[in-house]
Amino acid sequence: MIEVAGLRKTYGEFAAVVDSTFSVGEGEVFGIVGPNGAGKTTTLKVLSGLVEPTDGEVTVAGFDSDDPEMRRRLGFLPEESPLYEEMTPRSYLGFFADLYDVPSDVADERIESALDRLQLDHRERRLGDMSKGMKRKVAIARSLVNDPDVLVYDEPASGLDPVTTDSVLQFTRELREAGKTVVFSAHNLYHVESVCDRVVVMNEGRIVARGSVDGIRERHGETTYHVFSDVAPSRTDALAELADDDVGDLADGRAGESDDATALTVEVGDRFRTAVPTMAAVEAVRDAVTAAGGEVVDIRTREPSLEDVFLDIVGRPMPGRYTVGTSDGSADEETSERTANDPEGAE
């Protein structure tokens, strides 16, 4: 449904997107994640035809991104919800339906349906008098008035309260069930993880990771083992070596807070939790706990979240394995040993 090949967008000397290649299938929910300035919004604007690419090819639903026909098949939700505040939801949505040549009876039906699904009741209130969440829902409804095949959502739940956010995410899932193709970006990786089939991670204009959420987690995240004991493990050389590698940060970021434990141990209620990355380390902890006169009462594993993976890839300058894109889109399984914060090297 969407094909992007060798996309490059520059503003003067600044490169917002560099050599970006990916494709999105029909009925897929595709996420673009990355830190501020990574190029997510620019990519979405190119997809929606708002911004002309400097180089590369972009087709949506079989049409070039600058083709008016493509725009008929696309619904776009920008990061903000700028509406004509003197209008009501009905008149506002009616206006856009009119611009898309939607017959008025069909438009009325679509508008009522979208507002029902989004649970927006105040349909004759001035938009200027509505809350941010209500306006966001109206903006989402606007993206649907032309019954598009492709929806491009930029931070759809940005700045919304948890209830509205959940409602928006649920609506996105319903769109997928309705066979729509959805591309959206988000800062909140939980949102991406909860609705996306596949994601790309962007950093400094480049795609630095791609694949299914599980696949990326598998490739980039590492399982952590949490060892619960009734006393803190005594300091041993093996645990000190793990602490020096900052493995504790992988657990919960609170390592070293307890004087009675090693750098990997935190006190949780009446128990002590020690986070380590390998089974060998688990045995080292067990030995240390025993040496301290206690015993291990529980061992649990923790799978990495997409956020952990994201931080791993773009948040820290640590070496790692990650995929990089190429112009022919065949690099999904390629790996690199270079740092994620070195985009030049990543290429």
Partner: protein, 646 residues
Amino acid sequence: MIDRLRRVLRVARWETARAGGGVDRRTLLAALALLLVVGSVVGGGLAAGVVGLDVDRDVYRVAVEDGSSYAEAVETAPALTAVPVEGASLGTSADLIVRDVRGVPADGGGSNGESTVVGVVVSASDTEKGEAAAAEFREAVEAHNERLMAAEENETAAFPIAVTLRYVSRTSGVDGGATLGGGGSSDGAEGDGGSGGGGTSDDATGGGDEGDATGTAADGGESDDTDLAVPSIAGGTFGAATVGSPGSISPPFPFVSLLLAFVFLVPMNFLIQAYGSSILDERTNRRGEPLLVTPLSPVEIVAGKTLPYVALAAAVTTLIALAVGGGPLSVVAVFPVALAFLGATFVGAMFARSFKELTFVTVGVSVLLTTYAFVPAIFTNVTPVALVSPLTLVVFDLQGEAVSAGDVLFATTPMSIGAGLLFALGLGVYREEDMFTQKPVGRKFLDALAVRLAPVGGDAHRGRGAGARGRLRALAPVALLTACAIPFVFVAELMAVALLFALPVTVSIPVLLVTIAFIEEVAKSVHLYAGFERGVFARTDRVAVAVGAASAVGFFLAEKATAVVQAVGLTELYVGRAAFGSVAGVGGLSVPVLVALAFAPLALHGVATAVTAVGASRGRTRYVLTLALATLLHAAYNFAVVSVHG
């Protein structure tokens, strides 16, 4: 095409609904009421001006005999009302009493010795009102005399002219005194029952030469007895100072028509406020972004948003034309002005970063365009310069004078084309990448120009459209953009001519030539500077010379269009010839000279623009310096041309 029109109309319909929805009903009613009040006051004032309604009608009561020669003067004066002289008393029933003095004149009063009017006694009450009544009466009598004399078939007798010739030595110079004129003075206080004052005859002696006095005394005597003498009362009741109202002023220009023509401009100021706000509103908080994702093109969006304001301008103009007695010509003339107002406001709203900046823009647009439209129209009856402004056509229309199709085209075309180009300039930045940025107005302007250019030179552009044809294709937008500047150059130069032509030639010509040189050099180079600043052109001397030459060619070709000034006789003026000398007065020259003259401007433009382009390629400071240098070079050329043409 029909689909496109339908989309434009859709946007227009929604724009109208939005604009209406933005104001609540109560505010709308209040605004309408205010408009009604203002309209009534202005309309009433205009009606008063047109039909001669005076608020000081019948203020002063003048007691005068029915058969008196002064009765008619009193009756025709709006401020005076005649009351019976019998029983009239000053201060109570009359402010002024006019009594004829009858007697037998010294020459016997004719063959039968009957008594006749030999004088008049005017008594005024000793109050301020009495004095004002006397002054009004004096004016009424003078006006009555003027009317009688104007109605006189023998104008020489009615308006005698005294000419005094004074011969002066060549070496003595001319003194500052008047050499012509010496108007006949009408005195007539002789009480002879209506002897018009004769012209006075002055003897004048020329310094050194034989002073031959040839003054002629045009005698106004023998006039009939209806020609009243202006009464004079001892004590200075009728002093030199007279009381009058603006309605009694007779300026040497079509005052009423001009005033009515100005009324056409007033609604434009309100219109551009609403229009500018609507455009800027799209840019505030990225409100217009969703529109850009629809299948509509920017042209359709802007056309749709502008159409309601154009329609409103046309409707208001038509209504005003109907109200003040104008015809279709007035509407045709004002329409380009409305478009220019809207076009300039559109560009301003696209460049402004806030409503505060937009206010400056709309005020600037209003002042500039009002000046451009109104000032030249003042000279409607005097000079062809007036046709610079479309408003002059309105004045002609209101005066009932015919104008040629050439006049209409000349007056309206520059503004119409200029308005179109302003819209095109603004449309250049009506895209996501430009319209939501918060750049200063100057940088936005450069962006709008740069977006119309094609890359020239540099590694990034090597291989794209290689070869001579590719290079020419890249340079064509440069020439085209320069050519598009010609209407603005033309308008600016016409404006300069209109503002400077009233000054002494020794001042106006040098200032005009330098001003015009500057205007043209800016027009030829500002987009080149934009191209270099925005990285469209590679910063090399070779590229600079190439784009400079392209710009010069574009200017040279488009400049020939200014030959239209000859159609309206603008080159008959000295300043007109100075401004548009290249198209004026080249008759009688040999063919080689004509060819050289024809291509001399191309050489000038080529050299001057190449110099400026090289400066532009090296940054703003160098650009300003080379622009000044090119202006001086161009001005020197202009001086030479003016000297040759005379």
